[in-house]
């Protein structure tokens, strides 16, 4: 089972820690590649393959930036897929959502997303909040399963984005293994 994980940025935040946690659980079952925004470079962290891509354009707000930057994530993933043939795409939050949704459709493989929070939780106070929330809705809709790291997010997904509760699982070792085997790719 070859896994592609997409996340917006690799830093020392909780999202990155969780992404690598999932990667380390899954690397026992096959190759794990992470694609993210950063300087153009490839490197390994304990057997997890990391690929960073740069993006040349600056944007007037975060929504526009994310939507356009995701095209570079897609480009890199499509290159990697020539060799690796990913069986599953896993993305973290709406900031990697457009890439996740397009790539899952393109490769014809399942999509699993992890939501660390929703725009509703983040206050819905931005000029582009509704657009971001729409991306979250689409991402939740197109994901086979969703992992969360806290109850508040689970509740927001259910109440604000109308996600069926049986689609949502906790992002611990059991939850991760369960979800990845349920989509039928874990061997």
């Amino acid at each position: 089972m070859n896994t592609l994980i997409v996340l917006r940025e690799i830093s020392d935040d909780e999202v990155t820690k969780n992404a690598f946690y999932v990667a380390n659980v899954l690397k026992k079952f096959g190759d794990v590649h992470i694609v993210s925004f950063g300087n153009d470079e490839d490197y390994d962290v304990d057997g997890v393959h990391v690929h960073k891509v740069n993006f040349i354009l600056q944007a007037d707000n975060v929504f526009n930036w994310v939507m356009l930057m995701n095209n570079e994530l897609k480009r890199r993933a499509v290159e990697l897929n020539d060799e690796k043939k990913f069986d599953i795409i896993h993305v973290h939050d709406w900031t990697a959502g457009p890439a996740g949704m397009s790539l899952a459709k393109l490769f014809g493989v399942p999509l699993i997303s992890t939501f660390h929070s929703t725009e509703h939780q983040r206050g819905f106070g931005a000029y582009v909040s509704q657009a971001i929330s729409d991306v979250e809705w689409w991402l939740a809709y197109e994901s086979r399963y969703i992992l969360v790291t806290n109850d508040a997010t689970k509740n927001s997904l259910i109440n604000d984005l109308k996600v069926p509760s049986d689609k949502i699982f906790y992002s611990n070792e059991d939850g991760i293994k369960k979800v990845f085997s349920m989509v039928g790719v874990m061997k």
Binding site: I56, D60, N64, N71, P98, A131, V135, W138
Partner: protein, 381 residues
């Protein structure tokens, strides 16, 4: 060739020239044997066939402004392109104007096909870059020229404007004019002149959006002086926009009752008006191409238009129409006066205009050039 075209507007949704351009180009490409799919905006998902062209309408999402709307639409168009590509295997994606840059670039990178980008105008030319919003649009336009394998500009002057504005390498930028569907203008008028002007009145027609760019205020400024020498003139103004502002302008000059603001009209009516007009005024301030000049010519009516942008080429002074100094209502008055004083000459110029579009602006020729650019993008030659 298997062609995927992305345009924000496509008939029946028609705000500006891009809709006609894509409608005419796509149909002509199909006639020449190519397979064409168009992705365009629609309030709901719908697939249909229009004269052999496969048209797919795609909704967008909630967005506070046109830029984010375009980004959301780009994502949804890309997903549709991925679905279609399973069977179609597109060879090139052709994006029109900045609103389709998100869609075009996404499709280029996901499907790994070359991108051709046509610019119909620039934010810099339309309004200048004075706000963060305009800068983002400007950056998207630049980004489109950067990511595209080939760039098409629709006017000779405009070609220079884009080349220097965005530093586009010469080998990847082309000038291909807009065309006009001449046969559409061979219909018998579907309205009679007396619905718009009295039998004894001479109709001066303006067709375009009511925005500063199109220069209507300079035509209105010229009207009192024109009416002094030609009280038989009637100005028919077709288009949507800030109607109240221009009506007020005309009224405060005392010539309101010699103007008729028609608002939006169906295409057959507009074509009929082009044919019935004694002159077509095109007082544009910024006009990268100006399809209206070709429409006037196809209808065999003389065009009196600003010496700017594409109008420099599409109107041949004193042969197919007359040039006026941009933003100069005295010049507009002088040139319209010449045509109104000599209707025979006006008709002669109109006939020449018609011959000119038949020779130089037919879609059959223009779509072949465009397909040539697709081939370059695909690395065929």
């Amino acid at each position: 060739m298997k062609i995927l075209m992305t345009t924000w507007e496509f008939p029946p949704m028609k705000v500006g020239g891009i809709a006609s351009h894509c409608y005419d180009l796509s149909r002509e490409l199909v006639k020449q044997g190519h397979d064409v799919h168009v992705l365009t905006f629609g309030p709901e998902e719908k697939d249909e066939e229009v004269e052999g062209v496969h048209v797919h309408r795609i909704p967008s999402g909630h967005a506070p402004d046109t830029i984010s709307w375009a980004n959301f639409l780009g994502h949804r168009m890309e997903k549709k392109a991925i679905e279609l590509n399973k069977d179609e295997k597109f060879e090139v994606v052709h994006a029109h104007d900045w609103m389709m840059v998100p869609a075009g670039v996404a499709i280029k990178k996901t499907l790994r096909i070359p991108m051709v980008f046509t610019l119909h105008s620039t934010e810099y030319g339309r309004v200048g870059i004075h706000t963060r919003y305009s800068k983002m649009i400007n950056d998207l336009e630049w980004y489109g020229t950067y990511e595209a394998n080939e760039v098409i500009t629709v006017g000779k002057d405009f070609y220079n404007e884009v080349r220097s504005l965005f530093n586009v390498p010469e080998k990847k930028i082309h000038y291909i004019p807009n065309g006009v569907d001449i046969e559409r203008f061979d219909i018998k008028p579907t309205v009679s002149k007396d619905e718009f002007a009295a039998g004894w009145e001479k109709m001066v027609l303006f067709v375009g959006r009511l925005t500063y760019q199109k220069g209507l205020e300079f035509l209105i400024g010229a009207m009192p002086k024109i009416l002094q020498d030609h009280p038989e003139s009637k100005f028919v103004i077709v288009g949507r926009g800030d109607v109240e502002r221009y009506k007020h302008m005309a009224n405060s000059l005392g010539i309101g009752e010699k103007t008729y603001f028609t608002g939006f009209l169906p295409e057959d009516t507009v074509i009929s008006l082009f044919k019935l007009a004694d002159a077509v005024a095109i007082p544009s301030v910024y006009e990268p191409f100006g399809i209206v000049a070709l429409e006037a010519a196809a209808a065999a009516s003389p065009a009196v238009g600003s010496y700017t942008g594409g109008l420099k080429e599409t109107i041949i002074h004193e042969k197919t129409g007359l040039h006026t100094i941009p933003r100069n209502d005295t010049s507009i008055k002088d040139q319209l006066d010449r045509v109104l004083s000599d209707p025979g000459w006006g008709k002669w110029m109109g006939r020449n205009g018609r011959k000119n579009v038949e020779k130089n602006y037919k879609w059959s020729k223009i779509s072949r050039w465009t397909a040539g650019v697709y081939g370059s993008a695909m690395g065929l030659w």
